[in-house]
């Protein structure tokens, strides 16, 4: 009889012996090479070998990974918070052979330390109903291009890329060094029948961040004040009748400089630097190029230890725009609730 409210599997049963023994008693770690972490505790060392994963994986892939873990890790492994695979190796001897086999199987080892790790991303055209772009595809294209930085760990600091296919931002891209965000750019096309059938009108009206939606009682539907709509798509989440996808005008915005950790500087939001790039599948060359440009600028100019946003904040955003050559437009200036705090209320600035 299947149980209700089982809860998740007990993690304690999944810990390799070395982890059990060193549990809560780890003393320090070292980075023997990119992609490998050595954690040391009283009971000895654990070697974690980190491999990239496409995240969207088939069961046979998982089984292959399991086979590797059986062979080299006594059957233990974990995934990271950025969807990498970590093989948990107790026996140092196994590290090199494991790495070789991983690479041979197309599981690149890397992503530790001051590198570019896996992209946290979302569903896109693979499974969601509101995407402005695909997520897995851009991720693949961008990481192919940045591959060397997954393999190296001598960048100024970590660099975290996230990708969200619409403003719901399931990838929580809003606090990433580089955020790729799918954006719609046209007013929802209303299907009044669908609205009448499937929607609670007051909730639909209330859901619009800019109050662009007005009830239309005569029609038992709604109208949209077009100038007030900024295409967030929240109304589509509320109602199947508010079609927001637009093949011609959907695309990708790039925001940069976010950071979650509290190390040195406070966590900060990512900020828009490129308001729009077209959807150009299958490899989104405009996006990969823009990301590359920003990453290389950071590597060339940041100080040791500086995250992308820390670097930009030190030199100033106005300097970032002049250095990068990215054009600054009215679209870069916030006009939503907290805009005021972004206005430069100081006569001191650079050119």
């Amino acid at each position: 009889m299947p149980k209700i409210d089982n809860g998740p599997p007990d993690y304690r049963k999944n810990l390799p012996p070395i982890v059990e023994q060193n549990y809560g008693k780890w003393e320090y770690h070292e980075s023997p090479r990119p992609g490998v972490l050595k954690h040391v505790g009283p009971a000895g060392a654990l070697y974690s070998v980190r491999c990239a994963s496409p995240r969207l994986v088939c069961v046979d892939f998982i089984r292959d990974v399991c086979a590797l873990a059986d062979k080299y890790c006594g059957g233990y492994l974990r995934f990271t918070s950025r969807n990498n695979i970590e093989f948990l190796v107790s026996d140092e001897q196994n590290v090199e052979p494991l790495i070789e086999e991983c690479e041979a199987q197309g599981l690149p080892v890397g992503g530790t330390g001051a590198s570019i790790s896996n992209v946290v991303h979302t569903q896109g055209w693979v499974h969601c109903h509101t995407p402005a772009t695909d997520a897995s595809g851009i991720t693949k294209a961008v990481m192919d291009d940045l591959f060397e930085y997954f393999k190296r760990d001598d960048l100024p600091n970590k660099l975290r890329i996230a990708m969200a296919c619409c403003l719901n931002m399931c990838g929580a891209a809003h606090v990433s060094d580089i955020a790729l965000v799918g954006i719609h750019r046209t007013v929802p096309r209303m299907d009044h029948d669908a609205i009448r059938k499937g929607t609670e009108i007051p909730s639909l009206v209330a859901c619009c961040p800019t109050a662009a939606i007005r009830p239309d009682p005569k029609n038992k539907s709604v109208t949209i004040v077009e100038e007030r709509c900024m295409y967030c798509g929240n109304c589509y989440t509320m109602s199947p009748g508010m079609h927001i996808m637009d093949a011609k005008n959907d695309g990708v915005a790039i925001l940069i400089g976010g950071k979650v950790s509290n190390a040195r500087t406070a966590p900060s939001f990512s900020r828009m630097v490129i308001p729009f790039l077209p959807n150009n599948p299958p490899r989104w060359p405009e996006v990969t190029e823009a990301v590359r440009h920003i990453v290389d600028l950071w590597i060339a100019n940041a100080r040791r230890g500086e995250r992308l946003g820390e670097w930009v904040e030190r030199i100033g955003w106005e300097r970032f725009f002049s250095l990068s050559g990215i054009p600054f437009t009215d679209k870069h200036i916030d006009d939503y609730i907290f805009s005021r705090e972004t206005f430069r209320t100081s006569a001191a600035f650079k050119y």
Binding site: Y11, V19, H29, N83, D134, H174, S261, P282
Partner: protein
């Protein structure tokens, strides 16, 4: 699956060194008709640059109000095998630690009853089983339940809590993130499985201020490990770092946000003005063998993170600077109950806790939940004099 599909667009995404999701779909598609249809649908999206999934519908399993995302394609004629293609969210074990046996169990169920495609893992942390038909949902649940798994959250409920690797593999963990995550997930089974709130609610636990699970960016309640006393410096180890060529003055002291570290180049001694340390983790990150956290450990509780929609993205902010964080986490749970009650009573539909506090004010939130106001809650006090005076503060 008769003929091999033409997918010229997607084929391009099998090139290059990064592992390809297209290869994964194709591999699944070799034995699974759903996966193969997905490939075709995706190729179509790549051609016409729009998604081909209809607005989600409600599907589920017995006894649960969430855990499954309903999905139907708008091209059922062309791709009949994915006319229904629902996602099942399976709660992950704390820290995503697995035995290979467990993983194979999931694979077996999913090979049999679904597309054979998964996300390891979803952004919230669940195991995502990507695509199955309505009639398979209950059997899938029954099967995974038998194997010791359970559904995760979806809808207006508590989402599957997640945590950093913590004491399982990290010297910086200030409390047992893995245990707390497991404990809360079990404690709140009802809240996870039966949506009853204004909107979703997320917990994430990080063992220290590095916040490796990005809790502060995306968990309505972020529990960040910290300590209350002074960092501990081992001068011998300091000398070793110096000998190894670390520029302690520049890379450690200069970057310390409160400038509370002093390095004496001559004696190679490092000292700290402990009172001024904000426990940001920077110096420990750079020279962890020489600098350790204090001994009085616990966590900072923060509230409010969420992404952009509706009122802007929020990051979590401090509501309790320091709380001991030990099982059974009674103090924490009692506080959460008060917070949820208040949210439940005051929140509008689809209003996250952070947005509600923003709308009604921290003052009202604190008075209602009995959490004492402390300066750690804010970067700086208010710039306006718009204070809501309370009845008992006024002379009549």
């Amino acid at each position: 699956m008769a003929e091999k599909r033409e997918t010229p667009q997607l084929d391009e995404l099998e090139k290059g060194p990064w592992p390809s999701f297209v290869t994964q779909i194709k591999r699944a598609g070799e034995k699974n008709a759903m996966a193969d249809d997905l490939l075709g649908l995706l190729e179509t999206s790549y051609e016409d640059k729009v998604g081909h999934w209809k607005h989600g519908g409600i599907v589920g399993v017995k006894g649960y109000g969430g855990g499954v995302i309903g999905r139907y394609t708008d091209m059922p004629e062309e791709f009949p095998n994915i006319s229904e293609f629902h996602t099942v969210r399976v709660a992950q074990p704390s820290g995503w630690f697995y035995t290979t046996d467990m993983l194979r169990e999931i694979c077996d169920v999913w090979e049999e009853r679904g597309s054979g495609l998964t996300n390891m893992h979803g952004s919230t942390g669940d195991i995502i089983l990507l695509g199955t038909t309505t009639d398979q949902l209950q059997p899938i649940f029954d099967d995974i339940s038998d194997r010791g798994f359970d559904l995760g959250g979806s809808g207006s409920d508590l989402r599957s809590p997640s945590c950093c690797v913590g004491p399982g593999r990290c010297e910086h963990a200030c409390y047992d993130t893995l245990d707390m995550c497991y404990d809360l997930t079990n404690e709140y089974q009802d809240e996870i499985h039966r949506p009853m709130w204004p909107y979703k609610f997320k917990f994430k636990m990080s063992g220290c201020a590095n916040d490796c699970v990005a809790a502060q960016a995306r968990a309505d309640c972020s529990i960040i490990g910290t300590w209350r006393d002074s960092i501990i410096i081992d001068q011998d180890e300091v000398k070793k770092y110096a000998a190894d060529g670390l520029d302690i003055q520049m890379d450690v002291c200069h970057r310390c946000p409160s400038h509370c570290l002093t390095y004496d180049k001559d004696t190679q001694e490092l000292s700290v003005n402990a009172e001024e340390c904000t426990r940001c983790m920077h110096c420990i990150n750079v020279m962890g063998k020489a600098i350790k956290q204090g001994k009085e450990k616990g966590a900072t509780i923060m509230i409010g993170a969420k992404s952009t929609i509706v009122k802007s993205a929020f990051m979590s902010w401090v509501i309790v600077p320091f709380m001991k964080m030990e099982p059974p986490y009674t103090e924490f749970k009692e506080m959460m109950d008060r917070i949820w009650d208040w949210w439940d009573e005051n929140g509008k539909t689809r209003e996250r806790i952070g947005e509600l506090i923003y709308r009604l004010g921290m003052g009202e939130f604190l008075r209602a939940t009995g959490i004492p106001a402390v300066p750690q809650m804010v970067y700086r006090p208010r710039a306006n004099p718009y204070v809501f005076w309370q009845k008992d503060e006024i002379e009549v």
